[in-house]
């Protein structure tokens, strides 16, 4: 049992240890045959963060890890998986950080609530500054401008 655990641990660790020495995974720099699938994969890759880079998506990086992740995404899409399922698989593995598309969770709700609030505030300001005044019409405008 213990040997099996060790073996599994080694299997999991291997891609990390090996990624700098092995040649890049086949689909790191190779497109899928089917253009529709490739487009799907591409769109997904642009929204996944390369964890070893600085603010780059896996579609924009030469880092070996980005190559491995591209390979993962392409093979899974080619196997018929839904892009969102692939994203979920990566999020389960690496955490929310890997996805550039924030999900609504207990810690990210302000990202969605604040734009709504902004929309309301912008509407209120516009209403207050220019909406109401127009009700008074030209007569009121004249009066105030003359003061």
């Amino acid at each position: 049992m213990r040997a099996l655990a060790l073996f599994l641990a080694a299997m999991l660790a291997m891609p990390l240890a090996a990624q700098d020495t092995l040649p890049p995974a086949p689909y790191a720099y190779q497109q899928l045959e089917d253009p529709a699938q490739e487009a799907k994969a591409m769109e997904l890759m642009h929204t996944l963060r390369c964890l070893k880079c600085q603010s780059q998506s896996i579609a924009d990086s030469d880092a070996p890890m980005a190559g491995d992740m591209r390979h993962q995404v392409r093979t899974r899409i080619a196997a018929g998986e839904d892009p969102e399922a692939v994203r979920q698989w990566l999020v389960d593995r690496y955490g929310d950080y890997v996805s550039y598309e924030p999900r609504m969770t207990a810690s990210t709700w302000p990202l969605f609530a604040i734009p709504l609030l902004l929309l309301l505030v912008a509407g209120a300001i516009l209403w207050k500054r220019i909406g109401r005044r127009s009700e008074g019409g030209a007569g009121e405008l004249f009066e105030e401008a003359d003061v």
């Binding site: 720099y29 497109q31 600085q54 603010s55 998506s57 929310d96 924030p102 734009p115 912008a122 405008l141």
Partner: protein, 664 residues
């Protein structure tokens, strides 16, 4: 010796900033005090000393003085001269010195030439400028001394990050800093006007060229930075919503709002408090940008300094200046009256709409940039990227673009929308037709690129509508500026939308002599050869691209290896045609001898940066137009004053008997 001279000049400049602050403050109580007269000369001398100090830094980099710590850490004797010099500001300390120098020069310039405002307001402005400069001098001298010597000189320097050894990036930081610093001048004017309660249309006229200038530089900086990322990073992306990019976009958004609001204040004496507020916000965004990039709170290609001590220093400066300015604003805003009124359907109304929308976009970018940093502090790591910024930003951007098409056609103060029926109808028809044709041509197009294409076409035409029915030769330069800048936005938008909708990508492994096809080009890899540069070696591919029976074009992308510091970069090769760009990158060689090529055909992509240039050109025309008009107006005012004086003199000579003069 030169390093010590530079440091001494920096200390003296800091002392002069203190004098400027104290002199300006005293002038508020007693305008005739001896110290009050020193404000302007102090600002001019400070500008000279800062420039001298920066000159000394350039000098130690030019001669690669390896006893200076900064040179040893960032330069290398084998680097080409242009990159030795640009290396002077391609690091934390040097770039902060550049910032302070540009700021001191701007202060010297206003001290030297600006005579339109009341002297008391001017003194308050210079004091504010001195106060802001002082913080940055303190930061430089106490925590980022660029002239620090090493106890023992090193034999060779570390070199500069190869990604930064590029002509585009050599001029990217100075351009952005001029933009940031121009906003610091606008900020100082706003503080000066608040302190002396002189928020007038004259104040807006004085501030406007600085805002416009800052805005032109920011636009140029962002455009150049984007093009740099596009060709240098080797993946064909031109905007990543990277925090460092956002750090330059946020001041740009605030400056755009500010310059429109200042125009309303200058022309119609309305939106007084709002203009002051935006002046404070715009500079706050510059400071925040500096903080984000310089503090090391983000770690990205641009963020060279990773040092929390400096971060807290800038954060303290940020709090003092922004907090102080907002407090002043809160205390004084009640004394700033609203100014002239206007109806909803008026030029002012449209500009208020644009201002509110731009502020909302700014809010979104700010939120998306800072929120991940905030959650990271609580050990929750999230990423906010294009899938968030694009749609959420579009909610506010699209109304702004629509208002941009109609707003310039409206009259000041009050207008009737009926009058604009024809142009609005043309605009809507253009948008709908473009959208229909696009969907017919490419049915799987995303909603945002589709909207972008349609609005870009409509706006492109609409931006010239303010000229209709006017004598082209008599249209003021500033109006041409507006037309060009708005057209530039449409052009840039068209490029962005087209790039994201129609880009074709090809990743292939090709043996020398092998051929592939993309975007109607026959692309042949003729061979790969090693080449060497001054501080790198590279594998250079010779690729020929041929369209139909046309002349073949040769592209030579490289995969470079720098040795100081050791790093690999890809140098893309671009073939620019009017209808797009072919983008080629060479990767590694596989075991079977084939070379990895990355190829993109990007239709109309160059319009993105061409639009940016048009926007800059529009800004420059507006500055020239405004300055010329202002000079003319002042000349006319002077003439009128002289005539009045002559009249008074004549009247005095003629004395009372000829009372008939009065009638004249």
């Amino acid at each position: 010796m030169s390093a010590e001279l530079g440091l001494a000049a920096l200390w003296m400049a800091a002392a002069l900033a203190v004098l400027q602050l104290v002199g300006g403050a005293i002038a508020q109580r007693d305008p005739d005090a001896p110290l009050a007269a020193l404000g302007r000369p102090a600002a001019m001398l400070q500008g000279f000393l800062a420039l001298f100090s920066f000159g000394m830094l350039l000098w130690v980099f030019a001669i690669t003085d390896l006893s200076v710590k900064l040179v040893a850490a960032n330069s290398h004797s084998m680097k080409p001269m242009i990159f030795k010099l640009s290396g002077a500001w391609g690091n934390h300390e040097g770039s902060m010195l550049l910032w302070v120098t540009v700021m001191a020069l701007a202060g010297a310039l206003i001290a030297c030439i600006e005579k339109r405002l009341p002297e008391k307001t001017m003194q308050a402005t210079l004091a504010a400028q001195g106060f802001v400069a002082l913080g940055f001098y303190a930061f430089l001298l106490l925590s980022s001394n660029p002239f620090e010597r090493l106890p023992v000189p090193v034999p060779e320097g570390n070199g500069l990050n190869p990604l930064l050894q590029d002509i585009g990036l050599a001029f990217h930081p100075p351009t952005l800093y001029m933009g940031y610093v121009g906003l610091s001048v606008a900020f100082s004017f706003a503080v000066g006007a608040l302190v002396t309660r002189q928020v007038t249309h004259e104040f807006a006229r004085v501030m406007r060229p600085w805002v416009l200038g800052a805005w032109v530089f920011l636009t140029m900086g962002i455009t150049a930075g984007s093009y740099w990322a596009y060709y240098e990073l080797g993946w064909g992306g031109w905007w990543f919503w990277d925090p460092v990019e956002n750090a330059s976009l946020m001041p740009w958004l605030a400056a755009t709002a500010l310059l429109h609001s200042a125009s309303v204040l200058a022309a119609r004496d309305a939106l007084r408090a709002w203009t002051i507020m935006l002046g404070v916000v715009a500079f706050s965004m510059s400071m925040l940008g500096t903080f984000l990039v310089r503090s090391g709170i983000l770690t990205s290609v641009h963020a060279f300094a990773v040092d929390p001590e400096r971060g807290s220093f800038i954060l303290a400066l940020l709090t003092i200046y922004i907090g102080g300015a907002l407090l002043l604003f809160a205390l004084r805003v009640s004394t700033v009256s609203e100014g002239q009124r206007f109806a909803a359907t008026s030029r002012e109304g449209a500009l208020v709409f644009n201002n509110v929308m731009l502020s909302a976009i700014l809010g979104i970018v700010l939120l998306g940039t800072l929120y991940p940093l905030l959650t990271e502090a609580f050990d929750v790591r999230v990423s906010v990227g294009p899938p968030y910024f694009n749609p959420v930003g579009a909610i506010f951007t699209i109304p702004t673009l629509l208002a941009m098409a109609v707003g310039p056609l409206l009259r000041w103060r009050e207008d009737n929308i009926e009058r604009l029926r024809a142009p609005v109808a043309i605009f809507i028809v253009l948008i709908v037709t473009t959208a229909l044709f696009t969907v017919l041509a490419k049915s799987d197009i995303g909603i945002l690129p589709l909207l972008g294409l349609a609005v870009a076409v409509g706006l492109g035409v609409a931006s010239f509508m303010p000229l209709r029915g006017r004598d082209i030769l008599r249209v003021p330069l500033a109006t041409w500026g507006m037309v060009l800048a708005h057209f530039g936005v449409a052009v840039s938008l068209l490029g962005m939308a087209s790039e994201s909708a129609f880009t074709k990508e090809k990743l292939v492994a090709v043996a020398p002599g092998g051929t592939t096809e993309l975007g109607g080009f026959r692309i042949t890899l003729e061979g790969v050869e090693p080449v060497a540069g001054p501080n790198w070696t590279a594998m250079e591919a010779r690729i020929s691209a041929q369209r139909g029976a046309g002349r073949p074009h040769v592209l030579t992308p490289q995969s470079r290896s720098f040795w100081a510091p050791a790093q690999e970069t890809t140098e893309s090769a671009l073939l620019t045609r009017w209808e797009g760009q072919l983008y080629a990158v060479v990767g590694n060689q596989a075991d079977d001898g084939r070379w990895q090529l990355r190829l993109w055909w990007k239709p109309l992509v160059t319009l993105i940066w061409l639009g940016g240039l048009l926007i800059c050109l529009g800004g420059v025309l507006a500055i020239i137009g405004r300055l010329v008009a202002d000079l003319r107006r002042r000349h006319a005012d002077r003439r009128e004053a002289e005539e009045r004086e002559e009249m008074a003199a004549l009247r005095a000579n003629a004395s009372s008997p000829t009372a008939n003069w009065e009638a004249v």
